[in-house]
Symmetry: D4
Subunit: 249 residues, 8 copies
């Protein structure tokens, strides 16, 4: 509000005419009063500014954005890199690449700071790349993460053998393709929020993840919500948001 104070002082002193002041107020209502601050606020709290969506960007663009971000962040998460991008990027930027997950991290993963644990569960082994995107994202934001891979409902004993981890989780991320039943089963077992991630794993009538998506949206278990197909990052980010609600008490 300093700008406005100066403006008002100028008006009072007569150094700024009322008309000019009015124009000034009219011209910049958004960036000056509130929004720039909002933006700043968000990047401080959420670190959203520290993530780069890698798909479709050249290594040079990613490196350039990284450099700018590093001025105010310790670490950067790059998502949806392919192997070729990662290789080329490694020539102009120092970072750790997690092959098969699309994830690159500039700087190191932090020590987990949360008491609450985010469980990342997958129906099959083919869902692991999406799961790692979710898990690494959650770890990037300082969360404690437990991975339960290949615990799909067609072999219910595998699911149930992890009942302890599931029931003590703060948030559960249920990742599955094909029929996507994992979300409902975990939603019924757990009393924590379940974030369901349909994956494009499958063939035929899975229609690129549509089957799992619809299945998860129709989950008859309470406490289940859904993100986009293959959106591991979104699930990890949201899980971190929720997990941190219960921390720092």
């Amino acid at each position: 509000m300093n700008d406005y104070k100066k403006l008002l002082e100028g008006v009072k002193e007569g150094s700024i005419s009322i008309e000019d002041a009015l124009l000034e107020i009219k011209k910049k209502p958004f960036e000056d009063i509130g929004f720039a601050k909002i933006d700043h606020h968000r990047s401080l709290r959420q670190g959203a500014g520290e993530v780069i969506y890698g798909a479709g960007k050249t290594p040079e663009q990613i490196a350039e954005i990284s450099k700018r971000l590093l001025e105010r962040s310790e670490r950067i998460l790059i998502t949806r890199l392919d192997d070729k991008q990662a290789k080329d990027l490694s020539e102009c930027l120092e970072f750790t690449y997690f092959p098969g997950t699309g994830i690159g991290i500039v700087g190191s993963l932090p020590e987990p700071t949360t008491q609450g644990v985010i469980v990342v569960a997958t129906g099959g082994t083919s869902d692991i790349p999406v799961a790692e995107e979710a898990a690494l994202t959650a770890e990037f934001y300082g969360n404690r993460v437990t991975r339960l891979y290949d615990v799909g409902v067609a072999g219910l004993h595998r699911t149930l053998s992890h009942l302890d981890e599931l029931m003590s989780a703060s948030v559960v991320i249920a990742i599955a393709g094909m029929e996507g039943a994992l979300a409902s089963v975990l939603g019924g077992l757990c009393d924590s929020p379940v974030i369901a991630v349909p994956t494009s794993v499958g063939y035929g009538a899975s229609f690129g993840g549509l089957s799992a998506l619809l299945s998860m949206l129709n989950s008859c278990a309470s406490g289940v919500s859904v993100v986009n197909i293959d959106n591991g990052f979104g699930a990890g980010y949201l899980a971190s948001m929720i997990n941190k609600k219960g921390e720092n008490r």
Copy 2:
């Protein structure tokens, strides 16, 4: 083949010319040689002739067809009746109506003749009408049937509390709307064929049963196959076919 025998005898005896015999053979290849027999055969073995699809038929039409069928069948299964049809039909035909299931039966249900048990399981209570269509169909064909209703996967303990029935079933019919996960869970638990029936129960993104249908088609459990949305009759009929494979030994 009697007609052909007579024809050949006539040719041999000279009472039928070769040209006439050729014409005869050419004229009726299908109905005379094999197909009428096939048809007869089918109705004997399958009783398919004893079922009337009630939807869109007038009470008079149903009564008329029933009378013709009763000449060679003891009992008749009428499917997809609505209450109005049933009421009107009851004025011209003696039969038992099962309200809320769309099923009417002329004659009485037979005593079960199979050792094997068909388990009819539903995810919720709203799936029961479809389930009864399946169960009554199976019973109509003489099968022993166990009903497990409202054992949906969001309350897994309900499902698991019936593990005995499920694991000893000869065939399982899994009926569910919404996310349709029941088929996968039962497919993973049982080692008998699972016939999945998606239902149109649900709202929003269930899209009239599409969600459950896709989910069931993508089941990652082996031994699961799917029939049309709400097709209880089809499931009961197929279950009977399979169940009887293991009988009469």
Copy 3:
């Protein structure tokens, strides 16, 4: 675990043979050891047992279930009642009906016990029935709720005039039909989890809520997840789960 203790004591004392004990353990692994407890546990923590999905149930069924539930609950939430059901139900059960929302409540709404506020925002006035389903659900579970109705993005100043409420919310429920843009805009403004509820409001290419559903799933804002079309209850329940994570510290 009392049953198992008795069993083991019997084995130790010799009053139960090892074979009988083994059979007992084999026979009831689920209901006896863990799952009944899980179920009990869930209803205690989540109150999920206290909700009745009214659609497709007769007033008698709802009244009957209510009576059973009232034995261990102070209040019951009934969802998806229509006016006819509500009227009939009022003859056999004392409850408060919220016309136009599908909600009936047996007992009274509790005083809010949370510090955190759940904001329920809608794009238009036609989304209010779904919003009330969400808001009353959240209040039923003791949450403090703020309603911001008709703040759709086509009149952005309406949205922005509530920036304070939005930015201080613990959880935001964004409810919109048609193009469903509200979720993205709120997701960009808030730093709390946003639960998006697509509604079937609209016509033509809204395809019964599909447009809003896809839009919300593709939200480019982080922290947004989606529930089924028109699923106000699911959103309210999940919001309560998340809101309570930050309480009782």
Copy 4:
């Protein structure tokens, strides 16, 4: 109408028989009387004849068509070229290629002749190729163009920081993939026509642009209309049509 005048004069003079004249009139009602003129007219006014849709054409075909068009046009716009086509084409035709946009221009872009400004706005950086197709098309037809890229609604302050340009625009082209909310937000802020271009940017439930398409069609803001997914040219052409309505007064 010269041909008809000559014909009539011939009839009057007797050099053409009535029968021949009738045949002549019958034979060419369309191309001679009106339509050829219509066609001519259109290419004069709209320059539509000066655009080549490059996709699926060989460099030779494009070069050949270009040469014919250059006989009556100063400049030619080629759309949907890929890098390979552009490289091959450069060997037989002099033109400027705009890498990453699919656009090639024979001749030079004209100086803008309009007072009104067309704002081309995109939700993200991945939408820029489509945006450049739109912007270059508008410039090709002599329009003044302002580019506002990466002003998506998840960071509303970015959108609002360009309020001046948006509110003074003559036409706005809103280009976005994923949830396509940009069209509604701009439609609500601006009082000029908004042409919405859904893009195929995104993954999963964006279904190749379907999500953004439906979202934009359902826009609750007035003054918004939609063109095909990724159809930058169509948007630029229509925007030019509208912008020029307000010119030359």
Copy 5:
């Protein structure tokens, strides 16, 4: 900006302290500084505030909103009324109802003030209700409108017999169900913007307007854009926006 002017004058005169003025500015940034003006601005220019979307509103709600709007508007357009609503509404509000179009108008339609003509064309007679919604909307905003109904492409001579009106139109609204080819044909004939409105007229594979919608989006004619299925109001409003660009010179 009057409030701000007074505030500044107060500051200049010393009757308001800088601190109080700052607080005032901080407290109501949106409605007072900028957005209310935007809003005000919009209603002046666009009259958007003068339209009531009738669907789903009670007669009382519509009457109430109308009264508020009449304080600053001479006339009000009510869309998507059904006959029942219109009848009930007529008891508490004076207005003219246009049966079969869903349109009610409070006050009288203005004399057309534009030179430019908006042509509203339909493929068949069943599209007329949507067309009247568009035409009356355009007339409500003071546009000159020509109606060309039932000029569908299967009888091309009907279309072509109106070539004069079509070619001299300022804007064309092409309204068609079924195959929606009208938009392409008019787009090819006219050199003015064509706003295509798919309608839900048809059966079978028209899928509620989807066929016409896709057809229109894929129009190979330039200058065509599309609004939602049956959205006559949207087309009429946008056409008015465009038509007025060429006026008042």
Copy 6:
């Protein structure tokens, strides 16, 4: 062309000036020169003018159109009437109504004039209304028609028992809902064109006829083409067109 002849004669005689003649030619290019004749031509050859699409028209409108058409036609075909319309219409117009088919005929059906026979076959009894629409349409245009109803492929012997009729048909109309396999089977058996009509008969995954439609479009038999779902009229009309190709030799 009489008008033009007179015009030319006038020019030749000097009673009309060249300028006036030019103006005349310019003024009415379509209706006078060519298109009116085209239109006239079409109604003569095709009788298309003699059909009234009844859906959505009031009895008064239908009666009015009928009267105009009867001035130049002996008989009129009205399609898609419902029982209510038919009853009301019978009060102002003399015609024969075919209950359950939607067809009304003013005047009497003509004696068949073709040698070639159009076979109208249906998969089931529920397809008969659509079949009668097709058959009556074909008869209306003077074709010889054979009806083969309920010959669906699940009872192949029924299909094959009509091999004679099928193989001697001039055109076959294959009408089926559900899986629509009839078109392929008949396409394989017959060597005449097969016009496939998908019907909306079925439930669940028949999706209103979509299943049969896709099935028929993908027919692996040659000589099969498809019309819109439930479009009996279109099939009958096209069959008549084709059948008449082989007549009058």
Copy 7:
């Protein structure tokens, strides 16, 4: 029927016993009595046996099938060859390849034997490969063919300039992608059957030909039927069937 004649002669002569004859008749009812003849019959009349669907076959398989077919056919039509297959095939089989059309022909195209002309029309130049598949197929079966390419409805004068050819055609094949309006326009202009072929040409909301397919199915012109997307062969084959109905009189 020669086999049967011999059999009957043997029976008459006593050289074959009645039992052996019966067995013979029973053993091979289909291929010997009727179906082989049907099959033979079909290949004689239709030449269907002379077509090879090339897609997915190895050059060796195609060459092998060709050799067998050449024993009883003069010429063979191979469809859906790609350039690679064609090149490899040319090493083991003499044939003419039509690049860009997928068509190869063994032997030479016959002189046209029909009076009637099949018009093959396309909306754009990208539809030509499908059109050539249709045109060459029709020519392969001896039909006179006129090609009218790039006469799409967005430039109606192009369509209308070929009115003569269109109105005198025996059958019209209308081939178009994108919005597929060509079928309706031609259906309205011509009084011969119109076979519509949607093509996968287009992008975005053309959804691989779905837009054109739906558009053509919903054609409001009578006499239009539709084949599968890109199915040039099917259209050419059916057109030949219909064209020949009017020949040899």
Copy 8:
């Protein structure tokens, strides 16, 4: 249950305290008591453990899993291998690859042990890869298999010439793409269960198998159920399950 027996013996003997035993039972309820056995049970009966889904696995992973499985299985079935995987895998594992089917088998196929025959029928030659996946799977589990390839319904005589095999089959697997009519025709001819496998064979409106899938789900023949598109393994496995029901009596 050996672990539990020991535990109980320890309790009886006094070497384990009741508390410790309780803890032990509580700690591992699923894997130890029941589910591991269930799992073990399943792998014994079903051999499900002996199948490896090859898609997306590295040769190393497949080899590793194979080695573990070979400890308790004689043979292993690997599905959905591509040629590259198969080649690489052959360097680290001894197995037989069936090119074009995606199937690899470690060990040798067993001699068939069933009386009942599984008929695997395909509509065309392009369906053979899916058919071989089904047939080899059935043989892998010891079933007698008859292959009937290319017996599609467009050439019904081909289908019918195998009536004997079809009518004596224990289970029929009907595999077809495009219009998928084979399932209905076989379902009508056979009185054994028919497992329908839609394939992705086709183009255009086959939409990757959707057409065949819907067609099969809507089959009007009784006894037909459906598995996922291209899911040969699932069909073969289920057929084996059903076939074995009738064995060992």
